[in-house]
Every structure is written in structure tokens, then in C-alpha cells.
């Protein structure tokens, strides 16, 4: 028996890791992976709350989040591939043709 808080603390720290990685990293793919990390942290939160409250809807919602994450990953990686083709680089700072 551990308090729910422990799971929530873990979820928050994972989420913070995801945010920091999203802001700091320069490789597009790594940024994308940080986004996946964030989603996972949220999933953990959902399941923890569902378990604490005794409803199963949390699990179902996690299922849907994963489905969406999968779709998003597929499309996102396709975009990364096409960006790589045109700009020859995975450095996000080089993808700046819109710069003034």
C-alpha cells in the first residue's frame, strides 16, 4: 500500500523531463521522443487515478491515448523524413527558412 501521491510525483517528474527535453534538444527526432515521454507520463497519471478511484475508464482512456500517440508518431516521422530530404539536416535550428 503506497499512497497515490508517489505515482503522481513520478508522473510529474517524467513530464518535466519531457518538457525540458523538448526545449533543450536540437535533434528533431529527440524532440519528438521527448513528446512521447510526456505522453507516457500522462498515461501513468491516468492509470494511477483510475486505480485510486476504482473506475476502469482511466485504463480505456490510456488505450486511446496510445492509439493517438501511434498515429501521431507515424505522421510526425513522415514529416521528419521529408524535412530531412529537403534540408539535409536534422538540426532544428537549420529549419529556419521562415526566419526574417
Amino acid at each position: 500500500m503506497i499512497p497515490l501521491n508517489y505515482y503522481l510525483v513520478l508522473s510529474a517528474i517524467l513530464f518535466a523531463c519531457g518538457v525540458v527535453g523538448f526545449l533543450i534538444k536540437r535533434n528533431i527526432i529527440t524532440i519528438f521522443m521527448s513528446i512521447e515521454l510526456m505522453l507516457n507520463a500522462v498515461n501513468l497519471s491516468f492509470v494511477a487515478f483510475a486505480t485510486a478511484r476504482g473506475v476502469l475508464s482511466g485504463h480505456i482512456f490510456v488505450f486511446f491515448v496510445m492509439v493517438v500517440a501511434a498515429a501521431e508518431a507515424a505522421v510526425g516521422l513522415a514529416i521528419i523524413i521529408s524535412v530531412f530530404r529537403t534540408r539535409e539536416t536534422l538540426n532544428v535550428d537549420r529549419v529556419n527558412l521562415l526566419k526574417l
Binding site: P3, L4, I13, C17, I29, G54, S57, A74
Partner: protein, 166 residues
């Protein structure tokens, strides 16, 4: 007691891998770290008794999505990140950001008194077949919609990744 120990082990593994994801420069290392995170998360789900979710996590997240990531990294032959002058302060900024972000998140999530409830080991709320019932009865519409969503995603990915009109 056992619950706490197991939780600490898996939780620590998870955090370590997450921080490693930030510290690595080569994307493939980051990807492998992320796989470790997902695996440990699956184990934590098991701790909570959510077998369905943990298996789905392993199969879809670690088994499909991360494979896709690794595949793309290999395809594009992504190399190490460059060392720029700004890279020196990044770890410091990152640490600061992490601490503050996690502090904020923790506060938000745990300020509610309900969250001091206790979870027992392997406690699954309700019978296992309830999952199927929820999925195909109460949440049928989102279920069908997500299948359409996946279809669209497939089409989008195919179109986007094509080599242009050559």
C-alpha cells in the same frame, strides 16, 4: 513493503532512463533510453494491476512506435548533435527547468486531499472483463473514431514521406 520496494526500483529505473534520454547526444541512445522508460512503465502498470494497459504499452509503444523511431533514425543516419557554444549552459538550464517544472507539476497534482488514498499491490478496480465491456459498449464511438484516425494517419504518412513528383 514489497510494494514500496518494487515501486522504488521500477520508478528509479524509469527516472534514470528519462534523464539519460536528456543527457545523450546521439539519438539512437536516446531512443534506447526511451524504450527502457516504456518498459519500466509497463512494469509499474503491472504493479497497479493494470495488465491490459501494461501489455498494450509494451506491444504498441515499445514494440511498434519505438521500433518506428529506431527505424527512422537508422534510415536517416542521424549523427551526433553538434557541440555549440550554447551547449555548455544547456545542462544547467535543463536542471533548473526540471526542478521547477517538476515542483509545479507535483504541487498541482498532489494538492488535492483525495490523492492521499492508498493503492494496494495489484489492485485492479473491477473485473478484468469490464475492460472489454467499457471498450465496446460505453466507449464504442471513440473506438470506431480512432480506427478512422489510424487510417488517416497511414494515408498521411504515406503521402508525406513520398519522394515528390519526379
Amino acid at each position: 513493503m514489497l510494494h514500496l520496494v518494487l515501486f522504488c526500483i521500477f520508478g528509479g529505473l524509469c527516472l534514470g532512463a528519462a534523464i539519460n534520454l536528456l543527457l545523450q547526444t546521439h539519438p539512437i541512445n536516446s531512443a534506447l533510453s526511451l524504450i527502457v522508460v516504456m518498459g519500466s512503465l509497463a512494469l509499474i502498470y503491472l504493479l497497479m494491476g493494470a495488465e491490459f494497459v501494461s501489455i498494450v504499452q509494451l506491444i504498441i509503444y515499445a514494440g511498434a512506435i519505438m521500433v518506428l523511431f529506431v527505424f527512422v533514425i537508422m534510415l536517416l543516419n542521424a549523427g551526433k548533435e553538434e557541440r555549440l557554444p550554447a551547449s555548455k549552459i544547456m545542462p544547467i538550464l535543463g536542471a533548473v527547468g526540471m526542478i521547477s517544472g517538476s515542483a509545479a507539476g507535483i504541487y498541482v497534482l498532489t494538492c488535492d486531499p483525495h490523492t492521499s488514498a492508498r493503492i494496494s499491490l495489484g489492485q485492479l478496480p473491477g473485473p478484468a472483463d469490464q475492460v472489454g465491456r467499457l471498450l465496446f459498449r460505453d466507449f464504442l464511438l471513440p473506438f470506431e473514431v480512432t480506427s478512422v484516425l489510424i487510417l488517416i494517419a497511414i494515408m498521411g504518412a504515406v503521402v508525406l514521406a513520398r519522394r515528390g513528383e519526379q
